[in-house]
Amino acid sequence: ANIDFWYGNTGAVETAIKAQCDAFNAAQSEHKITCIGQGSYEILMQKAIASYRAKNAPVLLQVLDAGTLDMMLSDAVVPVQDELPDVKWGSYIAGARAYYETSKGKLFAQPYNASTLLFYTNKTELEKAGIAKTPETWEDVIDAARKLKAAGSTCPFVTNGEPWIVFEQFSARHGLPIASKHNGYDGLDAEYVFNTTLAAKHMVNLAEWRSEGLVRLAADTKSGNLNTAFTSGECAMLESSSGSYTTYTKAFEGKYELSVGMAPMYKGHERHNTFVGGASLYIMKGHGKEEVEGAKAFLDFVRRPEQQMSFAAATGYVPVTNDVLDAIGKSGESNSPKYATAAIGIVSMSEPATPDTRGIRLGAYIQFRQIWTEETQKAFAGQQTMQVAFDNAKKRGDELLRRFQQTYKGVALP
């Protein structure tokens, strides 16, 4: 059947997605997939909503991690595990599954472009400042930053202050709850709690370190941009998506040496898994059997190890099934830089989990991210303290949650 697939990425990822679609169409003749980019995750979602209401939604839909709850409650999608009961869903690493499965363990969407947070340093600069070992804790990071600063660096550590980096992944690996009810997995009546956890303290620290000149916001740097600040050599350390790895290696080539590791912890805290980032694929309701077959075939296709490998190689996203890791191991290229993040990313996502590190299942979460960013930006600009920013964000976030709860009154969380 002819089927439509909507995705939101642009740039290199879009190229890779299109390549997969072409490959799929070339590989078989039964189905023909049309892959349609919508320009961004947010717009994609809005369009999916409208088209679903207008009864002409695509059968396959890519939705970003933060939209998971909306999809689960939408009554507009069929859980992939129901449509494809025979797939060995267990082969997905737990960290990637948890975000997209129900509290009872049923996978709603098939993880697709998965990423996680990693820690990168400009090894060359660090060594110049006399730092031999890649920092692993925030204390190490700050020590290193001090040394770098002493050695003349204007930007030892850089961050763009985005919530998924400095807040969500931070909370996850430190095992901290973001909201009650296990980040909402246990009910729509969850409330935000992050303002009382170490996450809040961490933000306060970041703000202080910034005024000390140890940490810079991307907006403070010459380029104003996170990745460029790092690739240009201006900044020596950062936390960033596994997907950025290829960008860095290419930029560093011949100039600097890159080190990549797991994102730093505060001393004395047990490391837990980081969340899976990126997006996953949903099968939408309202389509004929034929089309669903086509959708299933495409899902099967992209799950294949070789597809995941080439996608990972092209984009820096992390392959998320165990068989792919095996395949990489067998390919003899496991040390190739194009798979470097795959290994470490999977390790990071596979650290011990708690009920609070499965993922985030909170309503209107994308809007909440905006609120969070707004409030913390104000704090960085000195208009309020970081704690006030967090308290405000909690308050406004809770309102969103209540509103969401009211909207889905009478709907049970799957």
Binding site: R53, D220, Q367, Q377, K378, A381
Partner: protein, 296 residues
């Protein structure tokens, strides 16, 4: 045109002639407006399937939301500053271009160009020009580090936004105001000169009073349009930031509706915005409209 002698008396033909436009206007103007008001009394689930009548709940919630008030307040400020500047700047230019000087002709052409340049392009160009690190003001930063950073400082972001907004608003207002000035009979200027009024005095005693109708129209349209026209600029220059400093109401509606799938909330705010725009327009008419119509 009501006189019998200058109209046809067919009955169905005119209905047939207006029908296509009226249909389109109904479908794409009144139905959406109706829908926005309708939704604002319901709690809509994004994917449908559940729609609950909640009365004034949405409004109460929106009115209780400090962010809504902040965005409205910003919208008002933008209207006040942005609109007055985008009328004032073209006004000054028009008064200058109305004189018989050599630059007048090229100016009349060049000043209209921005009309052809999309908000997005303007936004891109200005976001580059105002880039704190590579833009025109970058030297400022090397003198006093951090003095100029629209990515970080709300005030700077506003400066950038308004500079771009005024830039894009010049053509329309310039042309309208210049036309108004040119419509003033030359002899009135001459009379004023004979009465002893110098060029400066003439601006305030003769020119400004006489182009009141044009000023009124430009201000009216600026006010109603500044509510919305800033969208593409915000989306390309500031994305509503930093810290929400440039999140005007339209942008907030866009965010609420398009990234939070909060159809009811967005509709409610849209409805409020519509009422607000209409109220502004009506108020302007009531306050200014009556006073400025004198025949020449």
């Amino acid at each position: 045109m009501s006189s019998e002698s200058s109209v046809f008396s067919n009955r169905w033909l005119p209905a047939l002639l207006v029908a296509p436009l009226v249909l389109l206007v109904m479908l794409f103007f009144y139905v959406p407006i109706f829908q926005a008001f309708y939704w604002s009394f319901f709690l809509e689930r994004p994917f449908g399937g559940g729609s609950e009548f909640v009365g004034w709940d949405n409004f109460l919630r929106v009115f209780a939301d400090p962010e809504f008030w902040k965005a409205s307040w910003r919208t008002l400020i933008f209207m006040a500053i942005g609109s007055s500047l985008s009328v004032l700047v073209p006004l000054i230019l028009a008064i200058a271009a109305d004189r018989k000087i050599r630059l007048s002709l090229p100016a009349r052409n060049v000043l209209v160009w921005p009309k052809g340049i999309a908000g997005v392009s303007i936004g891109l160009v200005f976001s580059f020009i105002f880039n704190p690190f590579v833009g025109v003001l970058a030297p400022l930063n090397s003198l006093v580090p951090g003095i100029w950073n629209p990515n970080f400082d709300g005030f700077d972001a506003w400066v950038a936004l308004i500079a771009a907004h005024v830039w894009g608003g010049i053509p329309f207002n310039f042309v309208v105001l210049l036309a108004g000035l040119r419509a003033v009979p030359h002899t009135i200027y001459q009379a004023a000169a004979m009465d002893g009024a110098g060029p400066w005095r003439r601006i305030f005693d003769v020119q400004l009073p006489l182009i009141m109708p044009q000023l009124f129209v430009t201000l009216l349209l600026e006010f109603t349009e500044s509510v919305t026209s800033a969208f593409s600029l915000i989306d390309t220059i500031t994305k509503g930031g930093p810290g929400g400093a440039t999140t005007l109401l339209v942008y907030k509606i866009f965010q609420d509706g398009f990234s939070s799938y909060d159809l009811s909330g967005a509709s409610t705010q849209t409805a409020i915005l519509m009422v607000f725009v209409l109220a502004i327009a009506t108020a302007q008419f009531a306050l200014l409209g009556r006073r400025i119509s004198y025949e020449r």
